[in-house]
């Protein structure tokens, strides 16, 4: 079972840009790649999760400068509907080469918009760089608030960083406090749509990245498409990243494979279970809709 998708190479990497590393979630892969692509004219702008009007609530944003990229670096563990700007980016913003970052499901949406551009006029050939971030699950803003304020007992506005790792959800406050809750308890807050998600490492991205598999402060990177490969090679040549072979870091790809397998197996079970949730008059099961079979 090939849960990691197609890729040309897998690397452990970290940005060489100190300003980016100060703001980024992990190895600063996403922000650094966009900064490089902007500089090189590979993209004219990127759709990212910008700052919103409430603490830790992202707002999808089209950015065209490194300063804006820095302001939107780091993970917000709640939904940022980045696809809402994908046509807008080519129209109101007039971009011909669009970069976009997204969770695996959002990258799936990008590919569907390109292959079946039903309501996506003039978008398909303007997606210049689709970067994916690994994702186990996502939360509504209200769920994130419950986790931070009820479970971790901290105020949303006092949080400096949130992180998921080693089985814990951890928040770090501006004043140096650290609060944690076990990841297991998060499950009831996960948005329902994540329970049928069959992608962990953004298999359809040009390049995808996440922390899992690499040491703290480093990222695991999958270079996937021809386009992604060219951008990655360019960024390496330009000295944007320090790298290590993935088979020489701990815990390495084994952990990524393990988590991906766990996620996909669990969610495939959920998808299958939907087929027999209900009951028909004749005693046979009645199912819910399955998006992987038909609309």
């Amino acid at each position: 079972m090939d849960v990691l998708g197609n890729y040309k190479s897998a690397i452990s990497a970290r940005s060489t840009d100190k300003d980016i590393l100060k703001k980024s979630q992990d190895g600063g892969i996403i922000t650094t790649l966009f900064a490089y692509a902007l500089e090189e004219g590979i993209i004219d702008g990127a759709i990212v999760a910008g700052p919103g009007d409430e603490p830790w609530k992202p707002e999808p944003m089209v950015v065209t400068t490194k300063a804006e990229l820095l302001a939107s670096a780091g993970t917000r563990y709640t939904i940022s509907p980045n696809l809402s700007l994908i046509k807008e980016a080519t129209r109101s913003y007039g971009l011909d080469r669009v970069g976009i970052v997204g969770t695996p499901c959002q990258i799936q949406a990008v590919r569907k918009a390109q292959l079946y551009p039903i309501g996506m006029r003039d978008v398909d050939d303007k997606i210049a760089l689709a970067l994916g971030i690994f994702c186990m699950e996502n939360l509504s803003y209200q769920a994130l608030e419950a986790i931070v304020e009820d479970h971790c007992n901290q105020k949303m506005e006092s949080i400096k960083k949130m992180d998921i790792g080693k089985g814990k959800f951890t928040v770090y406050t501006e004043r140096g406090a650290v609060s944690q809750m076990p990841l297991k308890l998060i499950h009831k807050y996960v948005q329902p749509g994540c329970n049928v998600c069959l992608d962990y490492v953004a298999n359809l991205a040009d390049i995808s990245s996440g922390s899992v598999g690499s040491p703290d402060g480093w990222s695991t990177v999958f270079v996937r498409s021809t386009k992604g490969n060219a951008v990655w090679d360019g960024a390496i040549a330009a000295g944007c990243f320090e790298t290590k072979p993935i088979d020489q870091v701990k815990p390495g790809l084994d952990l990524v494979t393990k988590l991906a397998t766990e996620k996909i197996t669990k969610n495939q079970k959920n998808v299958d279970a939907r087929k027999t949730v209900g009951l028909k008059a004749d005693g046979t099961p009645k199912g819910l809709r399955n998006p992987y079979e038909s609309p």
Partner: protein, 298 residues
């Protein structure tokens, strides 16, 4: 380059050769590295063109203009893949001819006998009948007609064409998207004139659009609630909001909110949503298919 390059995985079966109708169940089902060629460089594809027509019913001509919005792409389509045998202003043919693919624009006015007759004739004379655009597929803005309008005040009953004839395939949205009708035209060409592999690819590609036609002829932004959120399938990607041509959909706290008074019932948001359908057999091969279509248009 640093890092390891994993050995090429054993070549899986190309997505396109998956038996039709069997959904790709897992994202990992299909890994495809080879490209499906649409045209062999050496041979001239001209001899084997398909025929396409556009039947214009109660629509605004936006759908027809959309076809032309492919610019040089339209010429390429007409040079190599399809003869346009019927279309308002573009083709000087008065009577509905035989054709492989008939794109029907507009809803059907039941008070206009000619519309009903022409639609039935188009059904009879075409191999594939396409509801082209929101009006033909779902009624779209004509759903709101209530008659009493100059210069045909007696015309007030407008229905999606599937009320009158069987429809094979839907291309929703208002207006539809030039690249989508281009993709459907290329796929229809592969389906009708291609080799086995190309036929399989085309079938896999066209299947969800055919399933949409089976799903029904009522569309609304409410579908995002009924068939996505209510079903526990929405993950907040924002595609619906990005799609809506009248900006009736906004994202509030990560979920779509539909301004139902603004919605014109074009069906684009639901069709574009990755959780209305997501066919891994086609999507996993996105690079190859996009390259193939690009190649076909050069």
């Amino acid at each position: 380059m640093p890092g390891t390059t994993p050995g090429r995985r054993p070549e899986a079966k190309p997505a396109a050769t998956q038996p039709q109708g069997k959904p790709a169940v897992k994202p990992s089902d299909v890994i495809v590295n080879e490209k499906v060629e649409v045209v062999q460089k050496e041979e001239k594809p001209v001899a084997e063109k398909i025929t396409i027509g556009e039947l214009h019913l109660s629509g605004c001509t936006g759908c027809l203009v959309t076809l032309a919005d492919n610019y040089e792409g339209l010429f390429k389509l007409l040079d190599d893949y399809a003869d346009l045998v019927y279309a308002l202003t573009l083709v000087d043919v008065r009577h509905v001819p035989e054709m492989d693919v008939c794109l029907v624009e507009g809803s059907c006015c039941l008070n206009d006998k000619i519309s009903v007759e022409e639609l039935k004739e188009a059904r009879e004379k075409s191999k594939v009948l396409v509801a082209y655009g929101g009006c033909a597929a779902y009624g779209n803005i004509t759903r709101f007609c209530r008659g009493g309008q100059w210069n045909q005040p007696g015309q007030e009953a407008f229905v999606p064409i599937s009320e009158v004839v069987d429809v094979d395939l839907y291309i929703p949205s208002c207006p539809p998207c030039p690249q989508e009708v281009r993709n459907v035209a290329v796929m229809a060409y592969l389906l009708l004139k291609g080799n086995e592999e190309q036929k399989n690819l085309a079938t896999a590609y066209l299947t969800p659009l055919m399933q949409l036609a089976q799903r029904g002829n009522e569309a609304c932004g409410c579908d995002l609630m009924y068939d996505v959120i209510n079903q526990g399938l929405c993950m907040g990607c924002g595609t619906c909001a990005g799609t809506c041509p009248v900006r009736a959909v906004t994202m509030e706290y990560g979920k779509p909110n539909v301004n139902r008074d603004l919605c014109i019932k074009c069906g684009a948001c639901y069709a574009q949503c990755p959780r209305s359908w997501f066919n891994f057999d086609v999507m996993n091969n996105y690079e190859g298919i996009m390259d193939a279509i690009k190649g076909a248009m050069q």
